[in-house]
């Protein structure tokens, strides 16, 4: 009797099957490591299996390296292109995280969580002093040279 019950349960579970999770594809522009101060655009395409209607929104959370949210956006679905878009200009170096959650008719859909990370780097720059000092030294050298020539 017990064996039959177990077999029945197994048959029921096999019929139900696993709950299909949404798959979201994040594509970042520009791709790869970005320099600090560069605007990054995240385009999220819903999985082909999910149907998209009016009233769909995506909540984008841009997490700073370590902790703290830098930006939170509610973006509507673009029905013509079937995608959600958001952008941000990072102000700190390190690993940033974008967390997205879909809202349907103004209510969050908990099965739709997805994440994407990217690195922000600092390309060395001279800054204002880096320009002022060489200019000053060139000027000094030029005046010294003129004096010698005269």
């Amino acid at each position: 009797m017990r064996r039959i019950l177990i077999l029945l349960l197994l048959m029921i579970f096999s019929l139900i099957g696993p709950v299909e999770a949404y798959v979201y594809d994040h594509s970042l522009d520009p791709v790869g490591d970005v320099n600090i101060g560069t605007r990054i655009t995240d385009t999220v395409s819903p999985s082909p299996s999910s149907e998209v209607f009016l009233g769909y929104q995506m909540r984008f959370k841009w997490w700073r390296p370590g902790d703290g949210v830098a930006q939170l956006t509610f973006a509507p679905i673009n029905l013509a292109r079937n995608e959600y878009i958001d952008s941000y200009t990072p102000d700190t170096t390190g690993t940033w995280k974008i967390q997205s959650l879909e809202y349907i008719k103004k209510k969050s859909n908990q099965n739709t969580n997805s994440e994407k990370t990217f690195n922000v780097v600092q390309v060395p720059e001279f800054g204002p002093l880096g320009l002022a000092i060489p200019l000053f030294l060139i000027g000094l050298f030029y005046t010294g040279l003129r004096k010698r020539m005269l």
């Binding site: 009016l54 949210v69 930006q71 939170l72 013509a80 292109r81 002022a132 000053f136």
Partner: protein, 139 residues
């Protein structure tokens, strides 16, 4: 002696120029650092497939020396939509942004009402009353 004086003169000149550059840079940064605690912005635009859209945003600058939890309460057409609680560090601004279709939206399956108003109310964890609020109307 004359030679060393010349060197001292050049070094002093370099120091003076460097100081001047630092002073100018400092003044410029002070000017740009003077920010309000909450800044609101509305940008109207057009999106292919969605039509007229409006982007409403609140930028929160924590001017305190310690981190604070801020609550951004949003209502659309006078109906509560969301209240997001975020921790904002000093000198690390936070931007809350919502992009909304303004016109009435139709599809085969549903209709979305036109947008008449959006309101933001901002709270900080150490104050019972809102620190700022705004309402944008669309006609």
């Amino acid at each position: 002696m004359r030679y060393s004086l010349k060197h001292v003169y050049i070094i002093l000149l370099v120091v003076v120029v460097s100081l001047l550059v630092f002073i100018v840079q400092g003044l410029y940064q002070q000017e740009t650092k003077y920010l309000k605690q909450v800044e609101f912005k509305r940008i109207d635009g057009y999106s292919e497939g969605t039509g007229n859209i409006s982007e409403v945003q609140a930028r929160i600058n924590n001017q305190d020396t310690v981190r604070h939890n801020y609550t951004v309460q949003v209502s659309l057409n006078s109906v509560f939509f969301t209240d997001e609680i975020v921790e904002v560090m000093p000198d690390q601004p936070f931007t809350f942004k919502i992009v909304l279709p303004v016109e009435k939206q139709f599809s085969d399956l549903s209709v979305e009402e036109a947008l008449h108003n959006v309101s933001f109310i901002i709270f900080r964890d150490d104050r019972p009353e809102p620190i700022d609020r705004i309402e944008y109307k669309f006609d």
